[in-house]
Structures are given as structure tokens and as C-alpha cells.
Amino acid sequence: MTREHESLRDLIAPVALGAAAPHEIARVEAHAKQCAVCGEELASLRAAADVLAIAVPQHDPPPSLKDGLMATVRAEAAERAGEEPQAAPPAPARRRGEGRARRVFGIPAWPAAAALATIVALALAIGLVVATQGGDDGADAQTIAMTATPDAPSVSGTVLYVPGEDTAVVDLSDLPPLEPGDAYQLWIIDDGTPTSAGLFEPTGPAAARTVATGLRDADALAVTAQPATSRAAPEGPILIQAAL
């Protein structure tokens, strides 16, 4: 643990500057949650890096930027207010994108959590490519190819899974565009039960990256696209998944 601590401590400054690789960021952030010394160090160096963010020549954004942004925001606010009186929406109701398929491998995707167990079994049966990561990333890091579903056959993705750090970095490409108000959501599947690992947005053209921790009992990871406001339960179709 001490060697691990020392090697990760060395990476805190690059991580604070956003100048580390995704798997390095994931490892440092996971370690910082458990190690008070590194947690404080990371927070403190990030605060220092923020000086660089504010120490640039200041420019006014054009008014048109605010106009366009607020038009989208108000439209989405009105839509949210009109359709969601706080309670969970009834299962058959779909806010928009009625044409969007909601079936995975011929099984209604949600809310039937049991379907996930089937998906995991299928993914395992199909045979996932597991390669051991070389280099100094940690001897136990694995790169796992994700499996697209018929709902989004073009999506591709990999999971860089580091069991020793209890961390996975999910990299996705060729994602379908999100509908207004939607976000991608990562799910950790344990014994057929999905738990949210957080919403995320595209980080590049049709591409996204997100990080999950708390995977020790997980059987699989799955990604959905669904309303950004409903976080507790999967709602949209599964786009891609991986067995761990």
C-alpha cells in the first residue's frame, strides 16, 4: 500500500492539472477517497490549478451565446415541468422519441431488471475480449471490449478495469446523439440489479468517457441514454454493455 501510495502521490500534480491519462486520473481519485493525505493534497493542488483558470485575459461572451443557451434551457424546463409532477413516470409512458426501440435482444429492456441477467449471460456467452494491460498501469489492469446492442449497433467501447483499484474507465465512441434533456448513464449490475454509476455527457464528437468505482461485486456494466433528470432507475434502452 505504501508503494502504491507513493506512486499515486507522484501523479497528483498531473491529475490536478488535467494532464494525466484517464486511467491515472481514475486511480488517483479512487485512492484519494480512501487516503486522507492524498485527498487533501489533490483538493489543494486543484485549487492551485484553478488560479491558472482565472488568470487569463478576460473577454465578454457574445450576448447571442446566452440567448441560444437560455432558449434551450427554458424549453427543457417547460418540458420537464409539463411532464414530471415529481412522481416516477408510469412505465409505458415515453416522453419523446417514441420511435426509439426499447428492446434488447428481444427482451423489454426496462424496468425488467431480470433482463440484465440475460444480457450478462449473453455477453459472457458471446465471449468478451479480455487483454492484460502492459506497461506501468498496474499489473492487474484489464481492457475489456464492450458489446453493442441492437438498439445502437454502431456504438463501440472499452472498459479499462483495474480490480486492484476497484475502478473502471469506460471509453465510448460512435454514440448516437442525445435527445434534448437526455444524458448517458452508466449502470453497475450486481446479480441482475442495476445501480446508477452516474450520468455523463459526450466528451467529444459522438464520444464519451466516464469512470466507475465500487465494482467489487459487479457482474457487468451497462450504458443507457435516458432523461437526465431520472437517475434512480434505468429507463432508456441499453446501448452497450460489458461483463466484468
Binding site: 486543484r46 465578454d60 443557451l69
Partner: protein, 197 residues
């Protein structure tokens, strides 16, 4: 929703409270957040990407992410402004990395500004004149080798591996310069905060 403050009171709320309203879908609260932080966000985006259109696209994406996922904010990451700037920075760096080859990015970075960033507009940054002055001093006194590494990392979007290769330095040296530079800025931040109180 009945507990929502009227718009004219929103401007008095702290960012954290505004974000709670944003999470519930309050567009007026979001507008206050935008008005407070869009200038510094846009300036960072402009500094990173170097042209207005790209900066506008980046700021729009970042603020939409804040609007759609305000619940992701955690005080552990620092202030709301720091969190939003980190969204702008992360997405900006992702774009830099997909946009251009390393050599082109470096050329663009060198052409953009060789002078040190200037901690201007203290009032806009909400940090007070004394603190802005102190931060400006810290940046100007940063040793050149540390400043170069911080600049390549933060404004150029290069990783520590890329910087080591680019400058022909051992990786350990690059990481050490990053740490020393940031520690110096941190001490400056502490001193500036003390001077401001």
C-alpha cells in the same frame, strides 16, 4: 416549487443554493449562475481553443452540462465556480486532443501568447483587488521551467508523458516541476487569501 424565491431574490443566493434550484429545473436560477460565471468560463475557453466560435461552442456545452446535471456537483470538488471551470477545462482539453496533432498544438500555443497570463479584472473574478494583485505577482515570479510545464499542461492540454517527450526531460522531472509550480501557486493563494481578510 412554491418555496422558490422570486427572481429578484435569486441574485442574492449563494451559488450552491442556486444549483439546488437548477437541479429542480429552475431556468431563472440557471440564468443567474450563467451571468455570474460565463465571462470567466468564456475567457478560459477562448484561451484554450484560440477562436471565438470554438470557445462559444465549448461554453454552451459546459453550461448545458451544468443545467442537465447540476446534481453532479459536490462541495468536495471546491466552489461551484471551480467545478464549472473544471468542466470547461476538461472538455476544452478533450477537444484540443482530438483536434490537432501534438506539434500543431504546440505551435498554436506558442503563437497564442508567450507572455504570462494576467490576473486581470479582479472584480469580475470575485476575488478582490489585493488577491488578484498577489496572484499576478505569484505567476510572474514562477520559475520559467515550472511555468513552461504548467502552461503546456493546463493551457496546451498535454499530458505529463507528452511534455516529457516534447521537452526531452525525464518523466520524474516533469512531474516534479508540476508539483513545485502548483505548490508555489498554492502558497500564493494562501497568502493572497490572508491578505484579503
Amino acid at each position: 416549487m412554491s418555496a422558490d424565491p422570486p427572481p429578484n431574490e435569486l441574485a442574492r443566493l449563494a451559488d450552491e443554493d442556486l444549483l439546488t434550484l437548477v437541479e429542480r429545473g429552475d431556468a431563472e436560477a440557471f440564468e443567474v449562475v450563467y451571468d455570474r460565471h460565463s465571462r470567466v468560463a468564456y475567457s478560459l475557453a477562448f484561451r484554450l481553443l484560440g477562436d471565438r466560435q470554438s470557445a462559444e461552442d465549448l461554453v454552451q456545452d459546459a453550461f448545458l452540462a451544468v443545467w442537465r446535471n447540476a446534481a453532479a456537483y459536490t462541495p468536495a470538488r471546491g466552489s461551484v465556480r471551480n467545478w464549472m471551470l473544471s468542466i470547461v477545462h476538461n472538455r476544452g482539453v478533450d477537444r484540443l486532443r482530438t483536434l490537432a496533432a501534438m506539434a500543431r498544438r504546440r505551435d498554436a500555443l506558442e503563437q497564442a501568447e508567450l507572455q504570462r497570463p494576467d490576473a486581470t479584472d479582479a472584480a469580475d473574478l470575485g476575488i478582490g483587488r489585493a488577491m488578484a494583485s498577489r496572484l499576478r505577482q505569484e505567476l510572474s515570479e514562477l520559475p520559467g521551467d515550472q511555468f513552461e510545464v504548467l502552461k503546456l499542461a493546463y493551457y496546451g492540454g498535454f499530458t505529463h508523458h507528452e511534455i516529457a517527450e516534447m521537452l526531452g526531460l525525464p518523466l520524474g522531472t516533469v512531474k516534479s516541476r508540476m508539483r513545485l509550480g502548483l505548490e508555489r501557486l498554492r502558497r500564493g493563494l494562501g497568502a493572497a487569501e490572508a491578505a484579503a481578510t
